[in-house]
Symmetry: C2
Subunit: 284 residues, 2 copies
């Protein structure tokens, strides 16, 4: 039996049911996180916690920083109750503006947010890590607040589906001629030995793995420039890679069917990945 958390209760997943008036369902009016758990230890909890609190604050869902902090214990209990304290797991967390009669504006003060968390066993893909992934490009027609991790994810859904049908893992999104990020990861190019990635702004998610990838690159003496990569630069890049909570640092070996570099994981990517994994498994 899988145990999940919903609004204060640890219950069987089958028993966890939402109101049809939940604003997550009706408006996509919620914020989520996915965290990685390694041998019972949550990786980078504080970074995820801070991002979630910031997002909830930005859209003014009344679930404050101390409430978000309390979710750490929820994650730990879910991991324990579901026998996931050994090996790896992920925890999905979502907070919406609650259930209330439908109005676009916020529901009455006092409407309790919906708070949901669930954990799953996770096995990192050795293939993705060692052999790399295929990617496609896709137009970035998402809204202009991609820095907020809301559940308004239709753009990402359509992009990932296009990738999936192509036999690729990720879709790299192009806005105004620039590579912004992947549909569910941050994206990087290695050009003239420099790791380039879109700057933190309203157009990309401030990825926790992005931050660790940047830190890892700098730690091994690789220059990182938060300078947007044009589509042409991307297509000519020596190396491309993505970073995310369930991908770690993964090399991109093919883009839109064309090999990236020589079609194998590039040397800079491998070094950054190695340093990244040291942080991930060494204690974040």
């Amino acid at each position: 039996m899988t145990t999940v958390y919903l609004n204060g209760d640890f219950i069987a997943k089958e028993a966890a049911k939402l109101s049809v008036d939940d604003r997550g369902f009706v408006f996509g009016d919620g914020i989520y996180e996915v965290v990685r758990v390694i041998e019972g230890r949550i990786f980078a909890w504080h970074e995820h916690e801070a991002r979630m609190a910031r997002g909830l604050g930005a859209v003014r869902i009344p679930f404050g920083p101390s409430d978000v902090a309390g979710l750490e214990a929820v994650c730990n209990r879910l991991v324990a109750d579901n026998n996931l304290r050994s090996g790896e797991a992920t925890v999905y967390l979502q907070v919406t503006r609650g259930a209330a009669p439908r109005t676009h504006y916020f529901p009455p003060a006092g409407t309790p947010p919906t708070v949901y968390a669930a954990t799953s066993k996770f096995t990192p893909s050795a293939d993705m890590r060692e052999k790399g992934i295929k990617a496609i490009t896709f137009p970035d027609f998402r809204w202009a607040r991609c820095d907020l991790k809301t559940v308004n994810l239709m753009g990402a859904v359509l992009a990932r589906q296009a990738a999936h049908e192509y036999g690729a893992y990720e879709a790299l999104l192009i806005r105004d001629g620039m590579l912004t990020e992947g549909a569910a990861t941050n994206a990087f190019a290695v050009i003239d030995g420099v790791v380039r990635t879109y700057p933190l702004s309203n157009y990309i998610l401030p990825g926790v793995s992005r931050m660790y990838a940047v830190e890892s690159a700098r730690a091994i003496g690789v220059t990182v420039s938060e300078d947007p990569v044009t589509e042409a630069e991307m297509r000519g890049a020596a190396e491309l890679f993505i970073a995310g909570t369930t991908t770690d640092v993964a090399p991109i070996v093919s883009l839109d069917g064309t090999p990236v570099g020589d079609g194998t994981p590039g040397p800079v990517t491998r070094r950054v990945q190695k340093e990244f994994l040291k942080r991930l498994y060494g204690g974040g």
Copy 2:
């Protein structure tokens, strides 16, 4: 007791519960409609039906045109079962890509969509119709597929909340210096006697009421131009109005605290509104 429709069943609203894995909740992966019911008759059903079928097709939720057509009977039964065959009502309809383990890409073929419908008593606001509404302006930072009526509505939620806090009814959205539409209505300006509105495109919803407003204006000899209104033109317009399923044609008498024209509903708006209401109540 309120009866709603969920996945084939007509049940008490309290009993209508969603899976925490519903892709509406997790991804905003759904399409919705709101229809108006007058004395038991659905207004403009075929227009709403066609738009919903088009939207579901565009995002490839497997609920085809004949399935959507079948929702007309669902609406009629909900109206009857909830004793709403006299007076006015609205029916809310939502179809999501169903409940499945979370992947950004589509769930396995055969995953049944979630189909939900609910009706409510509705009383048009005489004040809105006669005295007009206040509006504010708000940045249009929504995605670039506003022609699809998805539940990715966070942008609209934040805009409407800003209006609500200002004591206004609607937020007029500005993208690239142009008035696109309201957060949940289409928007119109009367400039030099011509009704101007944003052209049908990926940046606005093809509103059913928009279409009836345009048709009404033309029927009484008013020229309509689907030519974007700049922010400056909007602020200098003699008249402004909105159109939507629960607003009908409503004059805007104040924008960002400044009177529109002389601060009362304008003559062109009143004539268009009169013709619109004739269509609405005369049999659409």
